[in-house]
């Protein structure tokens, strides 16, 4: 079916910016000509334009622009290189429209409310004034309710929109009809005519309008929708802005000269010079130099990795102390970081809306109310019992009007607002209210390891000192501190901090003078102090020294540390071991207790980590986690969540890194560590300040309380109205002579709104255990 459009050959002419000579034109022509899907290219240098014939099925217009940019030219195409900007624009326009609708609704509803509730019957021509003020609210602000309701009806479904549409339309049409009757009656000498028309003699000079009922509910529900949309748009924008967090200026080598250019002007194949402390702007590989790079942004692992000639580097990672020349192989939105961000945006954008409680209730309530209205109308039509001729129709309308619960618009938003505020007090920052409605249904929680279950910071777990005749313990610590102070190795800081904690005097003493210093990347350091040679480095490297004497104690300690998946480091002279140090990323104090609390709620615990299998196993064993996957890529975390979801599990994800972002966006309820990356926080619905995972069970408890409050709110919202339905049906007409007293309708509305607000506020008082 699509093959017709997939093989669409199109001809296009685009203006080109950046060609400064005829040879440029030839070069651009050959570059574009090599793209798959391009049939022919003619670049005109005098016209500064390019004529391209290409297959639209194989090649997007935006890709042509991207390709030209890769070698430094700009094609003026109509499409941006990716659809995300267009999507962001659409979302912003949508939000603006919603804002305008809401503003008009508030502006018109406020006077209607005052006229009908405060200045009751005191304003002349109040009917026609209210009618005119209602028009924009119904026709402009509320239009979507009616179009949505019609769409739903075509699929034989009803939701809250249907209820709003049905009841507001009825209230508005009925009230408008009352306005017409009122003016007719002014010219009409015979009051009985009007009496028969409405079935209510009291309506002749004091007709009753329900304009405020119709407009207030539209305004309240629009307000709820606006707040929800605004939160979504803001987070979408925040994610998109993360791409621009990259350095604005970069140094590149062009024609063998270092120049500084804006990051956006990097072309594919540029040599980019990365100085100490700079962030990598592109994906590529190292051409010269060596340095440690903090890749935690991508891999989630805290230890900076050594990069030498040929090593791959990724945009968004942070260079430490060396200088690198890298070849730009992927730029702009082709980088791994940009693609992760794009996938996060996609996952968030395609997230299914959960069916809200109010919608579920409405889906039953609407047909039921409609049925009751029809039955009572039919009843009065066939058994009039001396009622006026049009009583059947009046009953039908009255039932529909009274069924419109204005407090419905307040029930969910007020409870969620109080719930969110309460969460914030407990360090649970809830961005997406939907998460609060879902958190109590969680069946599985997937944890990231590094930075989530662990601190994400390597620390010395064990330090064994081997005193000798020549070296006291203090001296050994002093030697360690002196060497590590000069080292650029990522673990050096952990050792220095540990020594500072052990001995105040060593920490403040002056460092020994190092007479030589040789750094063997990946192995360790060789140095001389007071003419004695020392080696400090990985156990594997130290143990391979030919003259070294390794006694049984040293052997046992090193084996034990390695078995526990600790990074094992040693200090030695030519023949004696002076110290063995085990370093690991410690598990958070609260982890074990938190997991137990979650298990008590019958929640399955999973752990996914980018770290190696041995370290993963050590952590999993200690925390008693059965479902573990090590060496996972960001995509695999995403797939794992999807796999669980396909088994009808409600899955929560807890993570902190950019590598977790896709999984966070995919999961039903997502928790990010406040200590983690910005992308993780923006992708997740809930952020735990300070990375305190022990707040997760509290968030679930809060979700339960909030949902209970919403349920009770809905009972209040519907309750008074449901009680008034028998009145509207005319059950008491034969006894008391009236069907629906408008005062009762008004009282039902006010009481239910007040009850709902009070009940929501009460949520704030409840304790979270």
């Amino acid at each position: 079916m699509n093959t017709g459009s997939d093989n669409q050959i199109v001809h296009r002419t685009f203006p080109v910016v950046g060609m400064t000579c005829a040879a440029c034109a030839v070069s651009l022509e050959s570059y574009l000509g090599s793209l798959e899907g391009v049939i022919s290219v003619v670049v005109s240098y005098p016209n500064q334009s390019v004529y391209i014939e290409f297959n639209e099925g194989e090649l997007q217009e935006g890709r042509l622009g991207g390709a030209a940019k890769e070698i430094g030219y700009e094609l003026v195409t109509n499409e941006a290189d990716s659809g995300t900007e267009a999507a962001a624009l659409r979302a912003a326009t949508h939000l603006n429209t919603l804002k305008r609708k809401l503003r008009i609704a508030i502006l018109c509803t406020a006077p209607i409310f005052l006229i009908s509730m405060v200045f009751m019957n005191q304003i002349p021509h109040e009917g026609i004034i209210q009618f005119l003020l209602s028009l924009p609210v119904i026709l402009f602000s509320g239009r979507d309710f009616y179009t949505n309701a019609i769409k739903k009806i075509k699929h034989q479904q009803t939701n809250m929109d249907s209820l709003v549409a049905l009841s507001t339309a009825t209230a508005f049409l009925y009230s408008s009809y009352q306005v017409v009757l009122y003016y007719l009656s002014l010219f009409d000498a015979n009051p009985t005519l009007n009496h028969h028309a409405t079935g209510q003699s009291a309506h002749r000079y004091h007709p009753h309008f329900y304009f405020e009922s119709a407009t207030v509910i539209i305004t309240l529900i629009l307000l709820g929708k606006f707040l929800e949309e605004r939160a979504k748009t803001q987070s979408a924008k925040a994610i998109h802005d993360l791409l621009s967090l990259q350095p604005t200026q970069v140094t590149v080598l062009r024609n063998n000269i270092e120049i500084t250019i804006p990051t956006a002007e990097i072309i594919l194949g540029d040599f980019v010079i990365i100085k100490p402390g700079e962030r990598i702007p592109v994906d590529g590989k190292v051409r010269s130099g060596s340095s440690y790079i903090d890749e935690s942004a991508i891999t989630g692992e805290p230890l900076p990795a050594l990069k030498e000639k040929g090593s791959p580097v990724f945009a968004g990672t942070l260079n430490q102390q060396g200088t690198l020349k890298i070849l730009a192989q992927k730029i702009g939105n082709q980088t791994l970081l940009a693609q992760i961000i794009a996938r996060v945006e996609q996952a968030l954008g395609s997230k299914p809306e959960i069916q809200k409680l109010a919608d579920r209730i409405s889906s039953i309530f609407v047909p039921t109310v409609f049925l009751i209205a029809v039955i009572s109308a039919l009843f009065w039509y066939f058994f009039p019992f001396n009622t006026p001729p049009q009583f059947a129709l009046t009953t039908f309308i009255n039932v529909l009007i009274i069924a419109c619960p204005c407090a419905l618009g307040l029930a969910t938003p007020t409870a969620l607002m109080v719930g969110i505020g309460k969460g914030a007090k407990h360090g649970i920052l809830i961005k997406d209210a939907q998460a609060l409605e879902l958190a109590n249904k969680i069946t599985d929680i997937v944890f990231d390891k590094t930075g989530t279950l662990t601190l994400g910071k390597p620390m010395v777990a064990e330090m064994q000192i081997f005193q000798t005749a020549e070296h006291s313990e203090t001296q050994i610590l002093q030697i360690l501190k002196s060497i590590e102070s000069k080292s650029e190795h990522p673990l050096a800081q952990a050792i220095i901090e540990h020594i500072a904690g052990l001995s105040q005097s060593v920490a403040t003493a002056a460092n020994y003078e190092l007479q030589s210093f040789t750094n063997l990347p990946g192995k360790g350091i060789t140095t001389q102090i007071n003419d004695v040679a020392y080696n400090l480095g990985s156990w594997k490297w130290i143990a391979s020294k030919p003259n070294l004497n390794i006694d049984q104690r040293a052997q046992e300690i090193s084996e034990r540390l390695l078995n526990q998946a600790q990074t094992t480091i040693a200090l030695s002279t030519e023949n004696q071991i002076l110290a063995i140090i085990g370093i690991k990323d410690p598990i958070k104090d609260s982890a074990s207790q938190t997991l137990q609390a979650l298990r008590d709620l019958d929640i399955q615990i999973h752990m996914l980590t980018g770290d190696n299998a041995q370290t993963a196993k050590a952590v999993a064993d200690q925390l008693n986690i059965n479902h573990v996957m090590a060496e996972t890529l960001p995509n695999q975390k995403f797939d794992y969540i999807q796999m669980l979801q396909s088994q009808n599990r409600v899955v929560a994800m807890v993570g902190d890194g950019i590598n977790d972002a896709q999984a966070l966006a995919k999961s039903d309820v997502s928790f990010a560590m406040g200590t983690g990356s910005a992308l993780a926080m923006e992708s997740a619905a809930i952020t735990l300040t300070g990375g305190q995972i022990r707040q997760i069970p509290k968030a679930i408890e809060l979700s339960k309380q909030t949902l209970k409050t919403i349920r009770i709110n809905l009972i209040w919202a519907f309750g008074y109205n449901v009680l008034a339905i028998p009145l509207a049906m005319g059950i008491f007409y034969p006894l008391f002579g009236y069907a629906l007293n408008p005062m009762i309708a008004g009282a039902a509305m006010s009481f239910s709104s007040i009850s709902v607000v009070l009940n929501s506020l009460w949520l704030a008082k409840k304790k979270i255990t």
């Binding site: 950046g18 400064t20 062009r254």
Partner: protein, 74 residues
């Protein structure tokens, strides 16, 4: 260190940007530079490998980028 020189039509800054990805992709080039001030538009390449082997690679790369190139003798 071997130096090889070529005569090209790499005329201007735009051309240099176009040819950059192709020359930078050659792993064994230590440095390269085009002198666009002179009529011959001389491309100078520095390399550790043999000039003969490198010469062919450079000519292939620059041609692929859409420029004309020929080895300067001597």
């Amino acid at each position: 260190m071997n130096q090889i020189q070529f005569k090209t039509n790499i005329n201007c800054g735009g051309c240099i940007k176009s040819v950059t990805p192709f020359l930078n992709a050659l792993d064994d080039i230590d440095a390269w530079q085009v002198n666009t001030e002179v009529a011959e538009k001389i491309l100078t390449v520095e390399t550790e490998v043999s000039p003969n082997e490198m010469g062919h690679k450079v000519i292939a790369a620059v041609s692929e980028a859409g420029f004309t190139i020929q080895l300067l003798a001597g």
